[in-house]
Amino acid sequence: MAVVKLQVDGREVVVEKGTNLIEAGKKVGVFVPSFCYHPGLPVVGVCRICLCEIEGRPKLVAGCATPVEEGMKVITQSANVREARKAVMEFLLIHHPLDCPMCDKGGECTLQDYTMMMGPAHTRFTFEKQTWPEEDVGGKLILNKNRCILCLRCVNLCKTVAGQDEIAVLSRGEETYIGTVAGRKIENEMAGNIADICPVGALTSKDFRFRSRPWELKPVGSVCTLCSKGCNTKVWYHPRRNEVVRITARENMDVNQWWICDRGRGAFWGIHDPNRLLQPTRRQGDATAPTTWGQAIPAIAESLRAIVERHGPSAVGVVASGELTNEECYLARSIFRDGLGLANVDVVERPQPPVVYPKFTIEGDRNPNTRGARAIGLAPGPRGLGVADMIRAAAEGSIHALVFLRGGPLEQFGDPQAVARALGRLELLVVMDPMPSPVSGRAHWVLPGVSFAEREGTYTNSQGRVQRAPRVFTLRGDTREDWRILQDLGRSLGVWMHVDAGPQQIFQRLAAANPAFAGLDYTVLGDLGAPLAAASADVAVG
């Protein structure tokens, strides 16, 4: 890698050849403002706020569009530079509505921040401002052109990341505007990123508009659990309302760069789905009634024990899911396979076609941790049955009890009517799931687990990268974190006797026991995760 040595405001800096002045400045703590520049998009150099001086050159240069040169002396703080930046700020504001109090971007708006930092306090523009009506452009975005500064990030995101030209620059001169073409709407699933990268309140998210101010929120670094890509996200929690109000992308160059798809962005709706299961329930005959954890867990343990004693371990099956964290998978494996000696343990897989964009793929495996579950050994043991065979065995009466660690629609297991009949024959059907489903609707016991945001855990994405998602908050109700439910059940069954304080300790046990996870701990994972032990080909232990 060729490197270049230069000076930025007198500070020496060594950077890779091809680096621009903005990035070079960043390295030594020199701030160069930017609107249009985004490291993940083509350099367009249009906003001109990044103008810098280079010693010996008569004209200012755009910091975003100027690559470093050996011995270059960059000046970002001269009178010329300050004048130029002030000029650009003034120009950008002449037609701007200055409607911060009612603009959703307020508090996280680059234009607002820069205006406070270096903008003029008064306007010299005394003419009528151009105005445009607000517009729904699709992609769950509302376009307010009055606030647009024409940085072109939206256009280039659609063009380069999603490969779509649904939104474009139209007209010219001061009439230039961003718009959809020929009555089209934005339809690509990357469009939500526009709300993240629009530096002003021109393109805002319909899902987030008018719901809160960013300073009321607590952003928590997390991981998306809607496919096996494992995009890094920020989960924005509203403490006063005890609510997650949005999810945005978090940069991780090894996984999702700067982007997430719109499904992941909308995942917070699921957390607050009005149908969430908030209390354990027990069904007897046709009557379903609330119960308590204190009754449910020992009762389930006793039933399971009894069935194993009466019919042997092959009469019990566990249908797990790639939605479980590594720790939960490890608990499930330890309890059901190692502890109870069950061989009928499997993970449901329901791959769909991936959605492939030029610079982003939404994985076909819509579960976050299938790879982790497999690496941990959630798979049929010797002579054990897979999911489909377990259902068949239930229909034939050779399986008497099934434990579903996540439910879901019946179709995923086969012909829905046959599956319903099979489930109806069971002596014991236990389902752990935050959401009701046709499976949990037939269960004897329903244990309300929680969403990814309400429990801590790690997930192994399709590349084999292990990433942490912390607990963000706790929903009101009598729910319990899934790892706790499993641990409680394990203890009741007498097969998991550890009293672990939380997922971190469980993860340590996993790492000690499973070579694929060897060497990993929370420090190694950090905020961006770490790959499974390189040597491991994910061989399940067992």
Partner: protein, 427 residues
């Protein structure tokens, strides 16, 4: 060829001047044969020595520009002929396209040979549809005569010449916007560097030259660089087309050497101002060039002299304004043009041009205040040098020129709250 002492316009007055027959009868395409017998380096060197500077406005030395094109052959190279001529005041290329297209084509072929291009685009503004049809007929004739296409003049040299019609945007005359336009993109200037000589059309080395620049080349080939360098002042050599318009008795395109006096041009070529009225101001080279006052027209029409005088030579196409002209209105018309033609991608030009136009209209209509004049001047400062391409500068310079050279007239508008020359309405 020089029957009337003219070089570029030697035959433009003859019937059928646009045909191959007439062009050949007067020695046409002899220069191409000479060029093809030389090496590209020899041609570039000859053009360098001639001192030819680009006639598209910037006055960049043509031979030097050609020399920037890499010699390696790993990518195709292109020559683009800039026939977008859209600046108010400029109409000299149009004459060459309509009356002597072969001169332009011959220059184009020599240029293409010199830089190693096998394809040349003539980018003609959409409004020149008539001229484009003449040029197309000329290309067809030339191809039929073995002058365009494969194995030109049996030399083995191959070059296609293709017309690309613009869609009516001044900005597409800016060389990188022209390239974008040919590529089928929005006509928006590119960030430079890289310069077109290295990364141009379709990502390949490209030279963009003005119509008149290329029309000079065959003559340099035939008569030698010494002849060309002997015309006009030092560093500002050669014959030149001057497009004279405004308040003159005989507006039109005239050929004269570089360095002719602006007064001579107006009085002798243009026949003076109608009614013998005094010259109030002259925009010397197209709307982007700062105005000169009537008492500043004893000046040599060349790049360096006009730059020294705080103006620009531009395309050498003076617009003459007599004492009935309102300078605020002239400034406003100019600013309105640039505001309308700004591509809109970069902030200072997009926002600044519209602002200047508004202030000028405010002053012209008697609603101006003194501080508007200060704001106007500071807006020109805020645009200049901060944009992607020179259109921003081209808008700022003339505005500043008018406001400074005719400050009193601006102040009079403000004080009297009306246009003292009776303007101030939209018509």
């Amino acid at each position: 060829m020089e029957s009337n002492g003219h070089v570029l316009m030697a035959t433009t007055g003859l019937p059928g001047s646009h045909t191959l027959a007439v062009y050949r009868k007067h020695g046409g395409y002899e220069a191409l044969a000479i060029a093809l017998s030389k090496t590209p380096d020899e041609i570039i060197d000859t053009v360098k020595r001639s001192g030819l500077r680009g006639r598209g406005g910037a006055g960049f030395p043509t031979g030097t520009k050609w020399g920037f094109v890499p010699k390696s052959n790993d990518k195709p190279k292109y020559l683009c002929v800039n026939a977008d001529e859209s600046e108010p005041g400029a109409f000299k290329d149009r004459l060459l396209l309509a009356k002597d297209p072969h001169q332009v084509i011959e220059g184009t072929l020599i240029g293409a040979f010199a830089i190693g291009a096998r394809r040349a685009y003539i980018y003609i503004r959409g409004e020149f549809a008539h001229e484009a049809s003449i040029v197309q007929a000329a290309i067809d004739e030339a191809r039929a005569a073995g002058l365009v296409g494969k194995n030109i003049l049996k030399s083995g040299f191959e070059c296609e010449v293709v017309i690309y019609l613009g869609a009516g945007a001044y900005i597409c005359g800016e060389e990188t916007a022209l390239i974008e336009s040919i590529e089928g993109q929005r006509g928006e200037p590119r960030l430079k560097p890289p310069f077109p000589a290295v990364v141009g059309l379709f990502g390949c080395p490209t030279v963009v030259n003005n119509v008149e620049t290329l029309a000079c080349v065959p003559h340099i080939m035939k008569r030698g660089w010494e002849w060309f360098a002997g015309i006009g002042p030092e560093r500002n050599t050669g014959p030149k087309l001057y497009g004279l318009s405004g308040h003159v008795n005989r507006p039109g395109v005239y050929e004269a050497p570089m360095g002719i006096s602006l007064r001579t041009l107006i009085d002798e070529y243009g026949g003076g101002v109608p009614g013998g009225r005094p010259v109030k101001g002259v925009i010397p080279g197209g709307a982007s060039c700062p105005v000169l006052r009537g008492d500043e027209i004893d000046i040599s029409m060349d790049f360096d002299s006009l730059t020294r005088a705080g103006s620009l030579f531009g395309t050498g196409t003076p617009v003459v304004m007599d004492d009935t002209t309102c300078m605020v209105r002239a400034a406003w018309i100019t600013a309105r043009f640039f505001a309308h033609e700004s591509c809109g991608q970069c902030t200072p030009c997009r926002e600044g041009c519209g602002w200047m136009q508004r202030i000028l209209w405010k002053i012209e209509t008697g609603r101006g205040e003194e501080r508007d004049l200060d704001i106007l001047l500071s807006v020109t400062d805020q645009i200049e040098g901060n944009t992607i391409c020179a259109l921003g500068d081209a808008a700022a310079w003339p505005t500043r020129g008018f406001a400074k050279k005719f400050r009193d007239e601006f102040l009079q508008h403000i004080r009297e709250k009306r246009c003292p020359l009776g303007g101030g309405s939209l018509h």
